[in-house]
Amino acid sequence: MARVGVFVCWCGSNIAGTVDIETVLEAARRIAEVVHVEDNKYTCSESGQQSIKKAIKEHDLDRVVVASCSPLMHEVTFRRCIESAGLNPYLLEMANLREHCSWVHRNRGEATDKAIKLIGMAVAKVRRLEPLIPIRMPVEKRALVLGGGIAGIQAALDISKAGYLVTLVERLPTIGGHMAQLDKTFPTLDCSACILTPKMGEVLHDENIELLTYSEVEEVRGWVGNFEVQIRKKARSVDMVKCTGCGECIEKCPLKLPSEWDLGLGLRKAIYRPFPQAVPGVPVIDREQCFVFTKGKEKCRACERACPADAIDFEQEDEVIKRRFGAIVVATGFSLFDEKAYGEYGGGQYKDVISALQFERMVNAAGPTGGHIIKPSNGREPRNVVFVQCVGSRDRAKGIPYCSKICCMYTAKQALLLKEHLPESQAYIFCIDIRAGGKNYEEFVNRVQSEYGAIYIRGRVSRIYERGDKLIVKGTDTLAGIPVEVEADLVVLATAIASQSDSPQLARILRIPYDEHGFFSEAHPKLRPVESVTRGIFLAGACQSPKDIPDSVATAGAAAVRVCELFASDELALEPAIALVDAERCSGCLNCLEVCPFEAIREERVDSRRVASVSESICQGCGTCAAVCRSEAITMKGFTSPQLYSQIAAPFEEILKELEVEMPSC
């Protein structure tokens, strides 16, 4: 016989407001094997926990049911609590009277009934629980940071400074990310490159950081504390060691191609460095374009001849390296919404309709126009410039439903820069709302209107079309209630922030969840904002949701702290409530292997029989495998069939008895 204590929480009025606590207590006392029942206004409070501990001692309880909120909130709290009173922490069951009951019901009587049933179910299960002991695993104290944008750079530097080794993987030839493409940053108008490049350099020279650019993660196996990662270093065709970064090779390359870095506004060579301050400064050969690769080995080779260091290596091959990591920070950033979806804005056809990032490159002194704002169609200076916000954002029909968060601010900044560069110009900004929540943000927008004379028109643009060498922008001023048209020389579209198009593939490799828009999901939006559901994998920057630079840096720092926390101990305690395969029962169909979202199940042989086996350190205890196992060979510790069945049966006991009467009896 178990000795169960039931602790009913009022949660202030959250539960007590809808559930009649007295009735619940009375009913709980009548449940078999329940020897102690009490209520607390806030069971999670220090005094509430003290009273649980006291009751365990006084009534010699060996099982505890806390009837309060979701275990997501306080299971850890109460486990710790009963553990300190000498019980195994896994002999706890929570009945969720709040989210599952009081918050979703209005009728007091019904809610009370349900609360009683929920407690009955919890008691039924707790009676059958068995003590569990966490699994202990050693920790590999080396972190992998994916993505070399500002978030990845910051995370790498922070972890390194705490004394741990870091490998930073970036898929482009240089780190820096989108921040390196920007001119100034809002609202302080710092030069983006000026504040970023020192950090890039720091990464390059940090002894704790291994920098792998032009590289991608191909496979991740293992678990928190022991990830085994396979990384492909793509052939750069230039020897990283020999190259001095002099740039002679680039000079001599005869091929001129549109530059991705400048979003097509400028040109680069087949051997190139995306921008002058690129880190590392070693150029890379675009093998898809270079004559040596497209036309034949003996063709061209101008760069090779030009290189004083003999660093060009056409024969170089991709290198696949394997590393073990204890933790992974994902900072793979974002991509921009493609404005081609908007046929009414020209769908990318009008040369003088550009994206905000193109504008950014144009206004950047290191950009293709050397910092001059021009009409791409004829190179002249524009006078009337129309900025269109929410291109893709807040558009369920053509784009994405969410707000991209940073466009209001960067549009204001660009309007300001426009006026600084071309004092004669006039900025028109079509916006829906101005969302300027942030330190000094609202003031900045005000300044752009009052000091820089930008005209804000509240309304969305319906159409842009060419008339002569002008662009007609049709919109409505919804405040004035009249349609408006602006004759523009240049139109800048504030395109939305989207997830990286290949984020689902990466999520699959990492075994982490992502949301419907392709952003990686955090474990808890409020309390675990930089952790993924998979232990040991953390999120930083805009791969999780649209973020501005300070937010990205802040989350990177937070993720780094999480990594350091993990590395601070030599061993990890893993959740013991995981799947266990009974090899005797296993029929080897391996359907479990197919469905395991964490790839925690592998095939094994037991006396030539094929059976499934669970890697206890990878298993997250999700139970999917147990659900598909027809042989019932998989047991979920802490959720065994008898435990769950008795929990399910508990509220139906009376009904079952009634049914039995109806059934043919013998």
């Binding site: 509240r458 969305r460 919109g475 409505t476």
Partner: protein
């Protein structure tokens, strides 16, 4: 202009529109793209986005007596542009019907009259007899010679037949009209008389 805080429930009108059109106007966040794209917007006293807004705030009288709902040409630009995929054309249809049913005065007599002649022609022949329609309408609007030149040009090229021609499936046409009889009758009798 009376709006918002009326004695009825504030969602009453929007709920009615939703029930009749299937469109949820509460999704509108007033970006104005509908109005921006509307080819007739310049003729409108109240822009389409404001019609939606007025529905949101229960301003029924203003909406149902506005000319906007009659000026709308159902070109669907607004629907095509709307980021929330609200079908304004359906909404406008419903508003016109409500306006008639509840006896609001139509500020655009001509449009209403044209619609009636058009329907009558369809009812009789299963299709529009352009010449008859034109003549009737122009007579009724007391501008008998309007469009005369263009009409003659079209007539010469055989585009406008002198006599009305009936289509084959008249029984089906009759069925359609029989189905909508209650509404048409109410409409003809002048509705609720507000």
């Amino acid at each position: 202009m009376r709006c918002l805080l009326v004695e009825e429930e504030v969602h009453q009108f929007s709920n009615l529109v939703k029930a009749l059109s299937g469109e949820d106007v509460s999704k509108c966040y007033q970006c104005g793209k509908c109005s921006a794209g509307c080819p007739i917007a310049s003729e409108m006293e109240i822009l389409p986005n404001r019609i939606i807004r007025l529905i949101q705030i229960n301003s029924k009288d203003t909406v149902l007596s506005s000319s906007t709902i009659w000026l709308c040409a159902s070109c669907e630009t607004c629907f095509t542009r709307c980021p929330e995929e609200i079908d304004l054309v359906r909404v406008m249809d419903v508003l016109r019907r409500l306006s008639l049913e509840e006896g609001y005065r139509c500020p655009e007599e001509g449009i209403l009259r044209f619609n009636r002649f058009f329907l009558a022609s369809v009812k009789n022949y299963g299709r529009v007899h352009e010449l008859g329609l034109m003549m009737k309408y122009n007579l009724a609007s007391r501008q008998p010679f309007k469009d005369l030149g263009q009409g003659i040009a079209l007539f010469r090229r055989g585009k406008i037949p002198l006599r009305p021609q009936r289509i084959k499936g008249m029984d089906q046409i009759k069925g359609i009209f029989a189905k909508s009889k209650p509404f048409l009758e109410r409409e003809a009798s002048g509705g609720g008389g507000r």
